[in-house]
């Protein structure tokens, strides 16, 4: 064997020794440390994302009112496209106050930036149960300060037009559950917004407007 090939072989040997030592080291680390850190590694997926996180809830719209929304007494539930959280599903109008605003299913701050939002623990129009709708007092619901008993509120959905007559108003603390009753067997419309109007600061009070149903199809099931 020549001197140079022997030297090359020796150098290769030590190079391989370096690789083998590091590989054995990696195996030792994986065997001993991985069981300890694997729960941490798996939970990293909760705080890592491929893209920047945003709070952007995609609020789509299913609102496509039919031109010939005839006066029907009933509408079958299976013919209704049910909204999901954040969906624009109706239009709310108060002609006396020149209010016309999109009605969304859900009442997150993102939804309330776009229109007024229905509390998802209340019913859709037509189910004969209370409907609780909130909005900002510096937006569409600023006009509620001028509402009077007898004014009408119209909610137009894909499956029918519902009319409500204002029966009264009240001011209550935001945590006062006696201000409204969602368990009653009556289709009462309850609109609410922050109170007082047109002042600077945070308020714990809410202004409520109550309305009884005048007309609109009842939702029935087979």
């Amino acid at each position: 064997m020549s001197k140079s090939s022997f030297s090359l072989k020796r150098r290769l040997g030590y190079f391989l020794l370096t690789i083998i030592l590091s590989l054995i080291g990696y195996i030792a680390v994986i065997v001993t440390v991985l069981p300890l850190v694997s729960p941490f590694i798996s939970s990293m997926g909760l705080v890592m994302s491929a893209t920047d996180s945003t709070d952007d809830l995609k609020t789509g719209s299913i609102f496509e009112p039919k031109v010939d929304l005839a006066e029907k007494d009933t509408v079958n539930e299976k013919d209704i496209v049910m909204p999901v959280y954040g969906t624009h599903y109706a239009k709310l109008e108060i002609p006396a106050l020149s209010v016309s605003v999109g009605l969304y299913f859900g009442d997150s701050s993102q939804v309330l930036k776009k229109g007024v939002g229905q509390y998802i623990g209340s019913s859709l129009p037509g189910y004969g149960r209370p409907i609780l709708i909130g909005g900002h007092n510096n937006g569409a619901f600023n006009a509620l300060q001028r509402v009077k008993v007898g004014d009408t509120v119209a909610i137009t959905t894909n499956y029918g037009v519902y009319q409500y007559r204002v029966t009264g108003t009240s001011v209550a603390d935001q945590s006062d559950k006696s201000a409204y009753d969602l368990s009653q067997n009556k289709e009462q419309l309850i609109l609410y917004t922050c109170y007082p109007f047109n002042t600077l600061g945070l308020t714990n009070k809410r202004f409520f407007v109550y309305g009884d149903k005048i007309s609109g199809p009842e939702i029935v099931t087979d």
């Binding site: 030590y14 370096t18 030592l21 590091s22 701050s109 002042t199 600061g201 945070l202 308020t203």
Partner: protein
């Protein structure tokens, strides 16, 4: 021949353990010099960080309060004093480092915020009452407290305390083991350059263990996609990761450099051994 093979085998085993010792010493020294350094966080919480805290605080209040209430966004511009924020961040950090829960006086900030809001209301002919002002100031102060504090600080401090206690023992213990193993390695080789060569292999292997992961993370940058709010906390954590990974990479490269030096020494010693000058 058998004795030679036995000597080689023992040398490989010793090299492995020397590599382990070098790796442990290098990594722990790097951590002691970077993330677990006493003034590490106070160095990161500079003017730029304080400015990002102020911006994050303002944006948070605008998002959380402006739309839901009848409060124009302009109210929250210049609501807080940069000086107060900088002072309180440092006071809070220093307090936490010595185990005190909170180290700043938020009354002066509260008064300042209340005055700013009243001033805005007066300048814009808006009504304001104590009943509506106090909840607003309370909410602003709650967000202020959240932004001044660094939520991961308690976790970091617990890790650092453990590390501080263990570091000295790690350093002394593994250094002693490494020295012992090296002396043993030298004792089993007639020609000492062979022992130095095995030490060089250990240094290179240690470098191979330390360098790849930090290098991969620094290039890939996956740790920059932390899904954490507020933004200034995310930026601070990314900076911590940056500095720590860079430190580890540098440590690995230093180990490689030491390996190169050992290789050159080996060459020199071998030449001398060949010339018959020494048993090198």
């Amino acid at each position: 021949m058998k004795k030679k093979h036995l000597s080689q085998a023992i040398s490989v085993i010793l090299s492995f353990f020397i590599m382990v010792c070098i790796t442990v010493i290098a990594v722990s020294s790097c951590l002691a010099a970077t993330v677990f350094r006493k003034d590490f966080f106070s160095g990161l919480m500079d003017d730029e960080y304080c400015q990002s805290v102020m911006e994050s605080l303002t944006d948070t209040l605008k998002q959380k309060l402006s739309a839901p209430s009848n409060i124009p966004e302009e109210v929250f511009d210049n609501l807080f004093s940069f000086y107060f924020i900088k002072d309180d961040i440092k006071s809070n950090l220093n307090a936490k480092l010595v185990g005190i829960e909170s180290g700043y006086n938020n009354e002066r900030v509260r008064e300042y915020v209340a005055e700013q809001i009243k001033s805005y209301a007066a300048n814009n002919n808006m009504e304001i009452s104590e009943d509506s002002l106090n909840p607003l100031v309370d909410y602003c102060m709650e967000e202020y407290d959240n932004h001044i504090s660094f939520i991961f600080l308690d976790t970091y401090l617990s890790f650092r305390n453990v590390f501080d206690k263990a570091f000295t023992y790690i350093l002394i213990g593994f250094s002693a083991i490494a020295i012992f193993l090296t002396l043993f390695l030298f004792s089993i080789h007639k020609y000492k350059h062979r022992a130095v060569r095995f030490c060089a292999c250990s240094l290179f292997a240690s470098s191979l263990m330390i360098v790849p992961l930090p290098l991969f993370l620094l290039i890939q940058g996956g740790y920059k996609n932390l899904n954490i709010t507020p933004e200034h906390v995310k930026l601070l954590l990314v900076e911590v990761a940056d500095q720590t990974l860079s430190g580890l990479l540098l440590t690995g490269l230093l180990a490689a450099a030491a390996g190169v030096a050992a290789t050159l020494i080996t060459k020199r010693m071998r030449e001398r051994a060949k010339k018959g000058q020494h048993n090198y």
